[in-house]
């Protein structure tokens, strides 16, 4: 078990690895300012945004056992919540971001109330169906660009408090959001609420028997995850300066699941690792060959077949091996 708030000397190797990783992310803009190569800044920004989305998906998928195949909908809703106000020249982030979170939460509440009545494959498919609905809705709304998408001319403005128009400003905004998300999800999973969610995944009937209305707990969890992912979507819209229904394609939802599983389901840092591995692999493989999807797909199959536990499990394993050597 992971005990927090111990002195750094007692941290597990994994915690160390994550602290070092986050510190590196924090220092990256310094390196970029030095080399004047913004490539890595963009890469890391994308990585962290997808990381936030993956963390939110992990909350329902890993902790709650709800396999949502439609999580990309919230990325889209969040991004359009920035794009549509910007289209009407409302650039105030204090309006855009609450819209993104509120719309995502509302969408999650309405669809979740229906989806959570179903189980297993039906749940997977109905979450996907709802995302397809949003996808097609935005494809056919000509006013906001339809299929071609919408360009966001100006990023969100925060009344002069902080400026995310520049790449570095945006980077630190995303970085702070990532830390806040990790803290929030950490607190949720450790709370009594989080325990009920875990319990309902393990044995729903037993949770019922001891008096929990698991449906309500799950629904709340589903809404929280949707809201966080909507926030990530708002960041994504700001980051890419361009939004299109493509963001909500069902393959995008599949990719989010891949990140969570690649990193390790039901762990705090796993989804971030998974998103990092996903973004870096995509970058690396697509530079090698235009047929990189083949390698990507093959890797995905191999991970599922032979490598349970994801990257998080791998780090645990390395940590244990190092520990054995020392003692």
């Amino acid at each position: 078990m992971q005990r927090d708030m111990l002195s750094p000397l007692d941290w597990k190797p994994k915690t160390w690895a994550m602290v070092v990783g986050l510190a590196l992310l924090a220092l990256l803009p310094g390196y970029v300012a030095f080399t004047e190569d913004t490539f890595y800044l963009d890469l890391a920004s994308r990585l962290m945004i997808l990381g936030i989305a993956a963390v939110s998906l992990n909350l329902i998928l890993g902790h709650g056992g709800m396999i949502s195949f439609g999580h990309a909908a919230y990325l889209g809703i969040g991004a359009y919540s920035v794009g549509i106000p910007a289209y009407y020249e409302i650039h105030d982030g204090f309006i855009q971001i609450p819209i993104a979170v509120a719309c995502s939460a509302l969408f999650a509440l309405i669809t979740g109330a229906i989806c959570l009545r179903t189980k297993g494959v039906y749940f997977i498919m109905i979450t996907m169906a709802f995302t397809q609905m949003v996808f097609f809705a935005f494809v056919s709304i000509e006013e906001y660009g339809g299929d071609d998408g919408l360009v966001i001319e100006l990023r969100s403005e925060f009344a002069g408090l902080f400026d995310i128009e520049g790449a570095t400003g945006l980077y630190y905004f995303i970085f702070a959001s990532l830390l806040a998300t990790l803290y929030l999800v950490h607190r949720i999973t450790r709370s009594r609420f989080g325990m009920v969610i875990e319990g309902a995944r393990g044995n729903e009937r037993r949770m019922h028997a001891i008096g929990y209305d698991t449906y309500r707990y799950r629904l709340v969890c589903y809404v929280i995850a949707g809201a966080i992912c909507g926030f990530a979507g708002a960041l994504l819209g700001n980051f890419t300066n361009f939004i299109s229904p493509e963001m909500m394609d069902w393959t995008a939802s599949g990719e989010l699941i891949f990140m969570v599983v690649l990193g390790g389901t039901g762990t705090l840092f796993g989804p971030i690792l998974g998103a990092a591995a996903f973004v870096l692999l995509e970058e690396w493989l697509s530079a090698i060959t235009i047929y990189w999807h083949f390698l990507f797909g093959a890797l995905l199959i191999l991970v599922v077949l032979f490598w349970r536990g994801g990257l998080n499990g791998l780090i645990d394993w390395i940590g244990r091996a190092a520990w054995r050597k020392r003692s």
């Binding site: 396999i67 039906y122 169906a129 599949g254 999807h293």
Partner: protein, 307 residues
């Protein structure tokens, strides 16, 4: 309302419906018997279309190409089952979804590698390329009629196999209680492999039938497979009858919605609002239908008995 257009669209809807049934029937059997979610079913649809296109060019005969491409697609299905899918039955749905998602990426890239990024058109023989007058004043493309005919024939054949033969009896038994029939000494693994190959062939057939109309292209299966999933969810997983009725229902609703929803909406709201709302709403119609049905019937319309 314009009756010519109405009848034409009715037939178009039926054609989409039988096409969906060709995909959905394999999917629902794989789902029903082994509880396996196969997202890559749409890739076999694509492979079927490409094989048929190449063979049509090579043999100069569309019909011969189909006859050759069908067993080839089934073989590819068998290979996929043998290499990847067989190892996944004991896993949970999440693993199925992920691994078959990986398969889709592999298939799309492999087709890209073998056939190039361009789509492939199939030229129909002249007999099929024309139009026929089905009712006085209503003409309809011959080939689309053929698709409906082939689809209905396959549906009938499947119905006879499932209800009248020993293999069909085992399939039905497997769909309602897998553990029980393997305890009774039925080799469920072999049965499933055969069902998978047959499902692959039917998906391939659907691809071959649509390719002359839309041409074979990369990722062509990724859109329609989602609709096929909607069909089997509405119909109830594991039920052939459910798949057939849901496929026709979805095909009709989708096609009719796209053509007539704006007319219908204009009865209730202003013309301008109807023009804006209709395209969005008609694209969402089948998903709304699915959500509505699942909200009241979480198991679909015809859930197999015994589960």
């Amino acid at each position: 309302m314009d009756w010519t257009l109405f009848v034409t669209q009715l037939l178009n809807g039926l054609q989409l419906g039988v096409l969906l049934f060709l995909l959905a029937s394999g999917l629902t059997l794989i789902f029903g018997i082994m509880d396996f979610v196969n997202l890559a079913h749409g890739s076999l649809y694509m492979v079927g279309a490409y094989l048929c296109a190449t063979l049509t060019q090579a043999t100069d005969s569309f019909v011969l190409a189909i006859v050759l491409a069908l067993p080839l697609t089934a073989l590819i299905g068998l290979a996929v089952e043998f290499v990847v899918i067989r190892r996944l039955y004991a896993r949970d749905h999440l693993d199925h979804v992920l691994a078959t998602f990986g398969l889709i990426l592999c298939f799309d890239a492999a087709v890209h590698l073998l056939w190039g990024p361009e789509g492939m058109a199939i030229r129909l023989p002249e007999v099929l390329d024309g139009q026929v007058e089905i009712l006085p004043g209503i003409v309809f493309p011959t080939f689309r009629l053929l698709i409906i005919g082939v689809g209905l024939l396959v549906a009938l054949g499947l119905y006879l196999v499932v209800t009248r033969t020993r293999a069909g009896m085992l399939i039905r038994a497997g769909a309602s209680n897998r553990t029980m029939i393997s305890a009774l000494g039925v080799d469920i693994q072999t049965l499933f492999t055969l069902v998978f190959a047959a499902g692959a062939a039917m998906a391939g057939l659907a691809g071959m039938m649509i390719a002359p109309i839309t041409e074979a292209s990369i990722g062509m299966g990724n859109e329609i497979i989602i609709v096929a999933f909607v069909v089997i969810i509405i119909g109830g997983i594991g039920s052939i009858k459910g798949a057939f009725l849901a496929a026709v229902l979805v095909g009709l609703i989708d096609t009719m919605g796209r053509s007539f929803l704006d007319t219908l909406l204009k009865l209730f709201i202003s013309d301008q609002n109807a023009e804006t709302a209709a395209p969005a709403l008609s694209a969402m119609l089948i998903y709304i239908l699915m959500a509505a049905i699942l909200a009241f019937q979480p198991q679909g319309l015809f859930p197999p008995k015994g589960r």
